[in-house]
C-alpha cells in the first residue's frame, strides 16, 4: 500500500559544541497514517534527531521537507504550528491545574478578549477527548489522576494543537501492561485517523506489536528503515547494537546461603508523612535475587529508602545480617557491605558535575588504600579507577570527564561500578536499567547474576517485566504497600497474571494476616 509521505528529514548532521557527533547523515521518512518506530540504544542519536524535528536543536546540515516542501523548524512553538506534537518522557503537565486547563494552556479560548472562557475550554477538551475515544474527566486535577491518564492528557494536548505528527518518547516506560495495551489501541485509532506517530522505544516486542515500520539508529547513524513485518526482533537488535544481544539468561539454580536481610512488620511513610508500606515482612537469602514488581508508587521507593537507611520514617524492624539498622548511619550500613543502585541516577546516583573518578570513589574515599590522613592517594585512586572503567566497559574520554557528559547507560555503569567495587553482600538495585541501552542493560544484568552466584543477596525493584522475569529467583508484587503475591516458580507466571496482581485485581494476602484498608 503506497501511502503519501508527510515528512522527510534528509541527511541530517548535528555536531554538538563539545564535539559529539550526535547525528551523521541521518534520513527519516514518515508516511501518513503510520506508526513509525525509532529504535536505538541510548546515545544513538534518537533524541537529537527528534529535537531537530521539534525545533529544540537546529541541524548543522541537511533539510526537512514537510509535505514535500522544504521548511525550517525554529522552535517548539514553530513545530506545534506546523502540526508536530511531542509527548515527552517526563510529562510536561501542571499538577495543580485541571485536565482541561492543561490542554488549553497557551491557546486559551477567550471571552470578551480579556478572560479565559472556561466553559468553552471544558467543552473543547471534552470534544477532543470524545473524538479520539479517550475516557477522561477533563475537570479533574492532574495531580489526582493516574500515570496512564496523564499520558493521555499529553497526547490530547498535542492533538488539541492540531498535531498530525505525534512524537512519543518511550511512552510505555511508566505504564502497566494493561495501560500499555490501552495506549496501543488508542495509537492504532490515531493511525487509522490519518495521524503519523513516531514511537521511540527500546522494547522490541512493543515495536513488533504496534509499529508499521522502524528506523534503526546506531552511533548517530541510521541503520536503515525496515518494515516491521519483514524483520525479526533478533535482526533488529543486531542492527541496533551490532551484535546478538542475549536478553534471557542461562541461570544456575540458586544456592541459598542463609538469611542476609530480614524485614519485619514494616510500616513506612513518605516525606509527606503518607503511609506507603503496611505491615510488610519478608526475608532475602544470600545467593538469590528477589524481584519486586509493581506499579510505581506502591511503596517500592519507601521500602528501598528504609532498607538503605535513607529514611527513618518507619516502624518495624530491618535486620541486615542480624543487626537492626534503625540506629545505624548510612555509612555504617554500607560498611555492612550493602550496595544501593538508586532509582534516579541523576538525582541520587551521581554528582553530575564531578568527574568519573570522583564519582567512583564517593563511597570509599575514607578507605586507607585511597586516602592518607589528610590527602587522597591520587595514584592509587587513578589506577583503581582505570581498572573499574575497563572492567565495567565505561565509554569515556578519560576518568576526569564529567559524569553528566556521559550517556545514560555509561552513567549507570559508573554507579554500578562504584557500588559493586566494594564487594557487597546485599545489593538493592532499584530500576537498575531504566532508560539505558541494550548493551549496558545486558551488562548490568549479568553483573547482578554474577554477584548472586557469588552468594550475594539481591533485591531487584524494576518496572521492566522482562528484567524481573529473567533475573528473579523469587518474584514479589507490591500493591498498596504490601505484597499482593509472591511467586517462587517465576518461569510459570504470565505477564497478564502479574499485571492483575500489580493492579490489585488479585491479591493472595488480602484476607490473610495482612492488614489492608
Amino acid at each position: 500500500m503506497a501511502k503519501e509521505t508527510v515528512l522527510e528529514m534528509q541527511h541530517i548532521m548535528k555536531i554538538y559544541s563539545n564535539g559529539v557527533v550526535a547525528n551523521e547523515d541521518v534520513s527519516l521518512e514518515l508516511k501518513k497514517g503510520e506508526i513509525h518506530a525509532l529504535l536505538g540504544e541510548n546515545g544513538a542519536g534518537k533524541s537529537t534527531l527528534m529535537k531537530v524535528l521539534f525545533g529544540i536543536e537546529s541541524p548543522d546540515q541537511g533539510k526537512i521537507l514537510l509535505n514535500g516542501k522544504e521548511t525550517t523548524i525554529r522552535s517548539p512553538q514553530d513545530a506545534i504550528a506546523k502540526g508536530i506534537g511531542m509527548v515527552h518522557q517526563h510529562f510536561m503537565l501542571l499538577p495543580s491545574l485541571t485536565v482541561a486547563e492543561n490542554i488549553i494552556l497557551g491557546v486559551e479560548p477567550r471571552k470578551s478578549k480579556l478572560f479565559i472562557d472556561m466553559k468553552q475550554a471544558i467543552r473543547s477538551a471534552k470534544e477532543i477527548a470524545d473524538k479520539y475515544n479517550f475516557d477522561i474527566d477533563v475537570t479533574a486535577k492532574v495531580e489526582e489522576i493516574p500515570v496512564g491518564i496523564k499520558q493521555k492528557v499529553e497526547i490530547l494536548k498535542a492533538l488539541y494543537r492540531g498535531a498530525d505528527i505525534l512524537i512519543l518518547d518511550e511512552p510505555t516506560a511508566v505504564l502497566t501492561p494493561q495501560e500499555t495495551e490501552e495506549l496501543f489501541v488508542q495509537l492504532e485509532k490515531l493511525r487509522d485517523n490519518g495521524h503519523t506517530v513516531i514511537f521511540i522505544s527500546h522494547k522490541l516486542d512493543e515495536i513488533k506489536r504496534i509499529c508499521d515500520r522502524a528506523t534503526i539508529m546506531r552511533n548517530g547513524k541510521s541503520m536503515g528503515t525496515y518494515s516491521v513485518n519483514e524483520i525479526s526482533t533478533n535482526d533488529m537488535s543486531k542492527l541496533m547494537v551490532g551484535r546478538e544481544v542475549v536478553l534471557s539468561f542461562e541461570k544456575q539454580a540458586p544456592t541459598l546461603q542463609g538469611v542476609m536481610l530480614e524485614v519485619k512488620h514494616l510500616n513506612a511513610y513518605n516525606t509527606q508523612g503518607v503511609q506507603k508500606i503496611r505491615d510488610l515482612s519478608f526475608e532475602v537469602q544470600g545467593g538469590e535475587i528477589l524481584g519486586i514488581a509493581g506499579v510505581e508508587g506502591n511503596g517500592q521507593t519507601e521500602l528501598v529508602d528504609a532498607i538503605t537507611g535513607l529514611s527513618r520514617k518507619y516502624s518495624g524492624e530491618i535486620l541486615l545480617k542480624g543487626t537492626d539498622i534503625r540506629r545505624e548511619s548510612i555509612k555504617a550500613i554500607r560498611e555492612q557491605k550493602l550496595a544501593h543502585i538508586p532509582e534516579d541516577r541523576m538525582a541520587s546516583g551521581c554528582a553530575a558535575h564531578l568527574n568519573i573518578q570522583e564519582n567512583m570513589f564517593a563511597n570509599q574515599y575514607t578507605d586507607a588504600r585511597y586516602s592518607g590522613k589528610f590527602m587522597l592517594r591520587s595514584r592509587a585512586i587513578q589506577s583503581r579507577c582505570d581498572e573499574l572503567i575497563r572492567e565495567y566497559l565505561v565509554k569515556c574520554k578519560s576518568q576526569k570527564q564529567e559524569v553528566g557528559m556521559l550517556s545514560g547507560g555509561n552513567i549507570q555503569k559508573v554507579i554500578v561500578a562504584r557500588e559493586f567495587s566494594t564487594g557487597p553482600d546485599v545489593i538493592i538495585a532499584n530500576q537498575p536499567t531504566r532508560g539505558i541501552d541494550v548493551g549496558a542493560t545486558e551488562f548490568i544484568r549479568r553483573k547482578l547474576l554474577e554477584f548472586r552466584d557469588a552468594g550475594c543477596a539481591v533485591i531487584l525493584v524494576s518496572a521492566d517485566l522482562n528484567e524481573i522475569f529473567s533475573l528473579s529467583d523469587r518474584l514479589a508484587v507490591m500493591y498498596k504497600g504490601n505484597f499482593s503475591g509472591i511467586f517462587t516458580d517465576v518461569a510459570h507466571v504470565t505477564e497478564e497474571e502479574l499485571g492483575q496482581y500489580m493492579l490489585g485485581l488479585k491479591n493472595d494476602f488480602a484476607n490473610g494476616g495482612v492488614s489492608h484498608e
Binding site: 522552535s75 506545534i80 501542571l94 494552556l105 486559551e108 494536548k157 509527606q272
Partner: protein, 305 residues
C-alpha cells in the same frame, strides 16, 4: 482601652496600617506565582515613597506623582528581572542589592533634592485624597469607617479583587501560574517563561510602588529616612502565609494591620515604646510559626489516612 478598640477609629487605623503592606503583599504574590521570590519589596517601597514625594511635588498633582511612581516601580521590577532572568543573578542577592541601594540611595537623593538628610519636610508634596462618601457618612459606625478613607486604601482593596481575577480568570494569569509551577511544562506548550516572569516582576514593582506612595502620601505626608521599616519583609511573610493568593494575602495582612493598630494604641499606655514597636515583627514571627505548624499538622493528618 477596650472602648478605643471598639471605635471606628480603630478600624480606620487597621486599614491605614494595612494599606502599604497589602500592596506589597499582592506584589509578592504575583511574583511568587510566577516562581520568583521578590525580596526587593522593601527597597521598592522605600524608593516609591521618596519618588512619590518628589514627583507629586514636581507635577503639583497627586495623580501625576502616583503614575510616575508606578512607572518607576515597574522599572525597578524590570531591573530585578533583568538581573535574575538575563544575567542569571541569584534572585535573593539581586534583591538584597536593590534593598541596600534603596537605603543609601534614597537618603542621597533626598539630600540632593532638598538638602535634608532625614525627612522631606522642605518639599511640598501632594498627598492622596481622602474620599468622603456623602450619604453613607451619616450612618453610625459604618459611615465613619467607609467614609473618610484614603483613596489609596480603596485602591488597595480593589487591587485584591483585580489581582484575584487577573491570576485566576485571565490567560496571562494562567500563564503566570503555569510558569511558576513548572517552567518546562509551560515552555513545552510555547509559553516563553522569561517573558512571563518579566511581566510578573514589572507588575509586582508597579503594585509595590503604590504601597510606597501611600507611605509618604497618605500614611504620613512626607518622606522620612528608612520609612518602609521592614514592611516589605512583613508583606513577603504575609503573602507566603496566605499561600501567595490575593485573598489569602489580604486576610493575613489584615491580621498584621490589627497588630500594628493595637501597637499604636498601646503607645498611649505606660508600656515602653521599644516593646510596643516590636509588635508587628513579633506578629510576623508568631504568624510564620503558626503557619508552618498548621502545614505540618495538615501533612501529618494526611499521613494518617
Amino acid at each position: 482601652m477596650l472602648k478605643n478598640i471598639l471605635s471606628p477609629d480603630f478600624v480606620n487605623a487597621i486599614l491605614r496600617a494595612s494599606t502599604p503592606i497589602l500592596f506589597a503583599t499582592l506584589a509578592s504574590g504575583i511574583a511568587a506565582k510566577a516562581g520568583i521570590t521578590n525580596m526587593a519589596l522593601e527597597g521598592m517601597l522605600l524608593f516609591a515613597s521618596l519618588f512619590g514625594v518628589i514627583f507629586s511635588s514636581l507635577t503639583h498633582s497627586f495623580l501625576g506623582g502616583l503614575l510616575i511612581t508606578m512607572a518607576i516601580g515597574g522599572l525597578i521590577g524590570f531591573v530585578l528581572a533583568f538581573f535574575v532572568l538575563q544575567l542569571k543573578t541569584d534572585e535573593i542577592l539581586a534583591a538584597i542589592a536593590i534593598n541596600l541601594i534603596a537605603t543609601g540611595g534614597t537618603v542621597l537623593l533626598l539630600l540632593a533634592v532638598s538638602g535634608d538628610r532625614g525627612a522631606s519636610t522642605s518639599i511640598s508634596s501632594v498627598s492622596a485624597p481622602v474620599i468622603a462618601l456623602p450619604f453613607i457618612e451619616g450612618i453610625p459606625f459604618i459611615g465613619a469607617v467607609l467614609s473618610g478613607q484614603n483613596l489609596m486604601t480603596w485602591l488597595a482593596l480593589i487591587a485584591v479583587v483585580v489581582c484575584n481575577v487577573f491570576l485566576y480568570k485571565t490567560p496571562m494569569g494562567l500563564k503566570i501560574r503555569a510558569v511558576g509551577e513548572n517552567k518546562n511544562a509551560a515552555e513545552s506548550v510555547g509559553i516563553s517563561s522569561k517573558r512571563i516572569q518579566y511581566i510578573a516582576l514589572v507588575l509586582s514593582g508597579v503594585l509595590c510602588s503604590m504601597g510606597g506612595y501611600f507611605l509618604s502620601g497618605g500614611y504620613m505626608n512626607m518622606f522620612t529616612k528608612d520609612m518602609s521599616a521592614g514592611k516589605g519583609f512583613i508583606a513577603l511573610a504575609a503573602s507566603s502565609m496566605g499561600a501567595d493568593t490575593p485573598i489569602g494575602g489580604f486576610l493575613v495582612t489584615m491580621l498584621f494591620g490589627i497588630a500594628q493598630a493595637l501597637g499604636n494604641l498601646m503607645q498611649l499606655t505606660t508600656i515602653p515604646t521599644e516593646l510596643i514597636q516590636m509588635i508587628p515583627y513579633l506578629t510576623t514571627l508568631i504568624g510564620l510559626a503558626v503557619y508552618s505548624y498548621t502545614v505540618m499538622k495538615r501533612r501529618n493528618r494526611l499521613g494518617a489516612h
